[in-house]
Symmetry: D2
Subunit: 404 residues, 4 copies
Amino acid sequence: MDFGYSAKTREWMKRVGDFIDNRIIPASEKFEEQLVKGPDFRNWVQPEIMEQLKAEAKAEGLWNMFLPDNEYGAGLTNLQYAPLAELMGRERHAPEVFNCNAPDTGNMELLWKYGSEEQKEQWLKPLLAGDIRSVFFMTEPGVASSDATNMAATCIVEGDEVVLNGCKWWSSNVGHPNARIGIFMGVSDPLGEDRHRRHSMVLVPLDTPGVKIERMLPVFNEYHEPEGHGEVTFNNVRLPVSNIIAGPGRGFEIAQGRLGPGRIHHCMRTIGVAEKALELMCRRGLERSAFRDSLARLGGNPDKIANARTDIEMARLLTLKAAWMMDTVGNKAAMSEISQIKVVAPNVALRILDEAIQIHGGMGVSNDTELAYLYGAIRTLRLADGPDEVHRSLIARLELKKYR
Amino acid sequence: MDFGYSAKTREWMKRVGDFIDNRIIPASEKFEEQLVKGPDFRNWVQPEIMEQLKAEAKAEGLWNMFLPDNEYGAGLTNLQYAPLAELMGRERHAPEVFNCNAPDTGNMELLWKYGSEEQKEQWLKPLLAGDIRSVFFMTEPGVASSDATNMAATCIVEGDEVVLNGCKWWSSNVGHPNARIGIFMGVSDPLGEDRHRRHSMVLVPLDTPGVKIERMLPVFNEYHEPEGHGEVTFNNVRLPVSNIIAGPGRGFEIAQGRLGPGRIHHCMRTIGVAEKALELMCRRGLERSAFRDSLARLGGNPDKIANARTDIEMARLLTLKAAWMMDTVGNKAAMSEISQIKVVAPNVALRILDEAIQIHGGMGVSNDTELAYLYGAIRTLRLADGPDEVHRSLIARLELKKYR
Amino acid sequence: MDFGYSAKTREWMKRVGDFIDNRIIPASEKFEEQLVKGPDFRNWVQPEIMEQLKAEAKAEGLWNMFLPDNEYGAGLTNLQYAPLAELMGRERHAPEVFNCNAPDTGNMELLWKYGSEEQKEQWLKPLLAGDIRSVFFMTEPGVASSDATNMAATCIVEGDEVVLNGCKWWSSNVGHPNARIGIFMGVSDPLGEDRHRRHSMVLVPLDTPGVKIERMLPVFNEYHEPEGHGEVTFNNVRLPVSNIIAGPGRGFEIAQGRLGPGRIHHCMRTIGVAEKALELMCRRGLERSAFRDSLARLGGNPDKIANARTDIEMARLLTLKAAWMMDTVGNKAAMSEISQIKVVAPNVALRILDEAIQIHGGMGVSNDTELAYLYGAIRTLRLADGPDEVHRSLIARLELKKYR
Amino acid sequence: MDFGYSAKTREWMKRVGDFIDNRIIPASEKFEEQLVKGPDFRNWVQPEIMEQLKAEAKAEGLWNMFLPDNEYGAGLTNLQYAPLAELMGRERHAPEVFNCNAPDTGNMELLWKYGSEEQKEQWLKPLLAGDIRSVFFMTEPGVASSDATNMAATCIVEGDEVVLNGCKWWSSNVGHPNARIGIFMGVSDPLGEDRHRRHSMVLVPLDTPGVKIERMLPVFNEYHEPEGHGEVTFNNVRLPVSNIIAGPGRGFEIAQGRLGPGRIHHCMRTIGVAEKALELMCRRGLERSAFRDSLARLGGNPDKIANARTDIEMARLLTLKAAWMMDTVGNKAAMSEISQIKVVAPNVALRILDEAIQIHGGMGVSNDTELAYLYGAIRTLRLADGPDEVHRSLIARLELKKYR
């Protein structure tokens, strides 16, 4: 047992950290200026500065660090990637700069694991190159998506075509000017005996006739431009059967495989957000004073700081342990730990963000700090990839299994 | 002791409730259409539908119900007004329709109590008529405003003029097209021996030279158009000394008097928000199902519903008791109870809003329900009119006094 | 609506309060001395001082105040009785002194409502006189008693006899030297079609052959001498059918009736405990100092005091409202409110007791204050008369009913 | 970074675990029988079975595992010892069997680090042999001991004697029939300029004239026989100056050194208690059913199980990390982490114990399970070795230091 980061990890941390400090943070104002904001995604643009930074990061080899593959990615383990993701989590634009942002990372990993050679050639390569971006079509507005058997969208094979129908929402990134491809999950065999073989995943080029972005959904009134979260309808969208990933009926299996690393990446970034919130809380607390003491030392505020530090330490350790288990015993054996940290990380970060808001007074709810923005962004993580309730239920089920 | 609403109260509740159900709710879409949104307050307009509804409410005598004065207001006690405010709290636009919205209510009450005959004639009357709207300039960006002795803005008497300098923010309503007048609190006697006689309140017509709205502040990215929350600078703003309310040095005293009813009005409305959130939570929970049961009956959700109901009941009782004390023994004797409910009401509402968001899934963080909007709006109440921390500290001090 | 205690209530409060202050508190040391402690209930005695105080209280008419009947009791409503129960809750021995202690109050109310004239003559009268004490045999060790349909003990009618078999535990008061009679609830018609007509209640004189006290159960290692909580077996206990209360099959109906006031009495007393804990917390906090300030003003302690005061206010108001509803619209219509306060009161009191323990340091967990004792005693109330979980579930069910 | 226990650790875990399962657990009934209980410590005895088990454990080399010294102890690091302490924490009598119980471990470590050769010969050796037991005299009844500068007891050097006066309480183990020696901390130089050089530690044989055990203090009415927690007075207790450990004025320094490992040992054992509580909760939840489902799957119970599992994982990781830091960078650099886990571990265990009690119904508060006993025992850990409040304050101070 060893709680220290390895020399290799520390070196990567230094490189990523330096790049963020020296290139990304100084550019953040420029990024904001080059952005077009508002609900109308047709006006959205990719800020030029982003493409410049991507090119620089790529040139320095700070690229695709999420993918544990020596050829396609940086060849880092989940455990090695974790602290890099944490660093990226602190800066809103950092993940895309390093080509390490959701939902692309999950989609790339999926294609890497389950895609055919052709699919990899056509879609994985440009994604890995950062030339295009992608979408994952999962959640539906009409049903409780926490129970996957509720899914209503269909992808029915007719001859050598697969026909997609239905409505998806919270399709993140679909508004991005570079978004070209989506992975659609739907029911392919509604009456299939095996409930876990009824679904399939299909690659959908976004310009296919019948695919329509209806609108963008805000998160606490933020549209997360230029990525956005879309509501998208599929109306008799026809594609060759070769667009089905790994063949019909494997949707569930693939979804399980996709969600493990995706969840843990979110958690890692969320720890970074929590650290940032604590830093802002401390700095503000030391800067301002009232009733003859600094806010940081006043009344119950030290308790909040202490609890924040403690909760972050524990959440980070649990994330790292889950990552280590994924590396050593596999995603399935790490299922409980992944669900545990999936519940803990956003809840911890939200509590600290809320307390940081409180110590900032009115400034905290405005846009003069990132706190309110981050609160909304992290709040969605208690819902995305399975709400807290579903994860707690899974953890309990696995726990009770020990006694039978 | 009697926990039933009086016949008179019940009659008022029916009139206000019917007006909201039959006129305001059906008009809410129109209101949204007529609104101009975005950070640039110069474009903001008062929706025509609002002026129509105001005229109707006024015609029916559903007007100025907050003011316990038979001539100027409806002559209701705080206790009688409470359930009306709760009803208004459920609908975003209702308070203005009835001329019962912050910060005007507090400002009107202030002028009614402390204003000279001239000041009443010039400003209170048009406010009571709903012809103009008003602002309260209190919080400052540069200091921890929770400690009033930190206040830096000045209003110094020079001959027969008073000269205002400084910067205020979170000046709610300052963006409203009808806003004409503000009440400015500042230091008039910086070296005065009595710390509670150093401040004064001054009436500032918003078109006075030197008054400048710098920008509008968003709340979780919402600008609350067309009212807004402004950052306003005062640069050698010169006014006649007769604009000082109740004479120099009475700022603190007046502030104390203003905040009692203002806080309790917010609490009443907040209870209405909490009820609405619980209703949305129940309805959604019954509508959707997963894992072979309705969400409302699944896992820990019934506990959340039960806790929400219980917390609302208790918060309402405490609000009503505080109102009753203000009516019977006065604001000063009700100080602990007012602070208690000032802490409890927004915290209860936020917890229920958060749980209602959770049961709505992704829809909950979007604008498809009012939940995210309300979360932001209520979150500010843990800061406005004194943050939780200051109120808890006051409650404790009053409690400990019993033992000396 | 009126939040003030009536003149009559205030007069009773003064009489009860004075009696407690002047007679009961000064005698508490004597009470402890006259007690025999330990698990062996056969040695337990009724302290002489208790009988003296009972005689005095009875002589002054401070007697049976719980019973809303002018002939048998003091003729007070639940609302009038509430603050008296709160006062009694502050002193461990007070309820018995006034003949207002559980489980006798519930049993007397039950007999008063459902007993035959003969049953009243034989058992209600000596109970009301304070000459004997009683037991309620409900909970069973072998099943989850939170679900009443799990009950396994039987009371089968055979000819003109009813035969009792089974095991009950947490039979409070069964160790009391004056305990003479118990009310036994069991299954009388196991296959009856109507699930709510399968149970009966039977009066069991404790000296009936076949009734055996197996042992006393401690609560956090306290035996609550000389009352105790017994495990009692019933082995072919034969009694005349006339001992069945209100006839066979009415057990459920009677249980419902019994539990309403019983629960609310517990809540009232629990508010008294919470007040006492807050008082001890404040006094200790003012007495001791560390790091150059009194503990009461240090760090997060004022927040704890403020929250305690606030929670007590709300819990008291909810208790009083539930009592008022029982008086005005009946126990059935007050069902949700009764369950609400049944959950809230012990949880609030436990939190305050825990914080009072903390501020006392090591002294808090010892017997040098009553805090640890009270913590155990109140902890049982989250289980007795339905665990929190069952009450929350009921509140949620009633809430959801509104939307169907 | 590596989250797996080393092969060596796993081997020790197996040996300790097997010994507990095969020897200690089967003997626990015998232990209870051989115990004399009650407040009168003069009757207390050391159960014979304990001495037998100690001899067996010693013979097998399962002895003094806490001491990171190859000659005197087992030569394990804190990280290696941690999971062994966790295993011991599950069984009340296990720590003493392995000579690894508080307060002896802390006292032995203290003597090992700071004792003279003579002191080691006379006291450390018999302690390491398990022949005698020891006491630590720190906390005082008359002051808030959380602030060490409050300490009132004195140990004044007069010639070649040191004279002890004062009163200590919560002197654990002082009732043990084998207790022979205590370490007394007191003020030796009341006016010394350096506040951290005013105190000294003195070895006090318990039979020295002037040392008097006044009484034993119960913890939630348990006396923890035969160890007990005593109140002890020191009345002109005269000892040779050679009994001062490491010379006068080093009390503070030694106390700091003593508390690090002692605190972490408590945390490790507490994790074991939490695991045991979760196990009992799950087993009971699966055994009992109500409302047509097992309690473990009913309502919010799965959430409680999931949260318990998650909290234990995080608390264990933080404990292990703190232990690893003590081994690698030293106790001082691990100060924040030690305080963090000192707060977390008992709070996590108490919450799980409380929920386990709840699912057991009435049984949970009785002595039919260990839950109520353990609740009391762990409750003291939020006070002992510094209350939560002091540790949170320290964590915050260290956190804020980063920004200066």
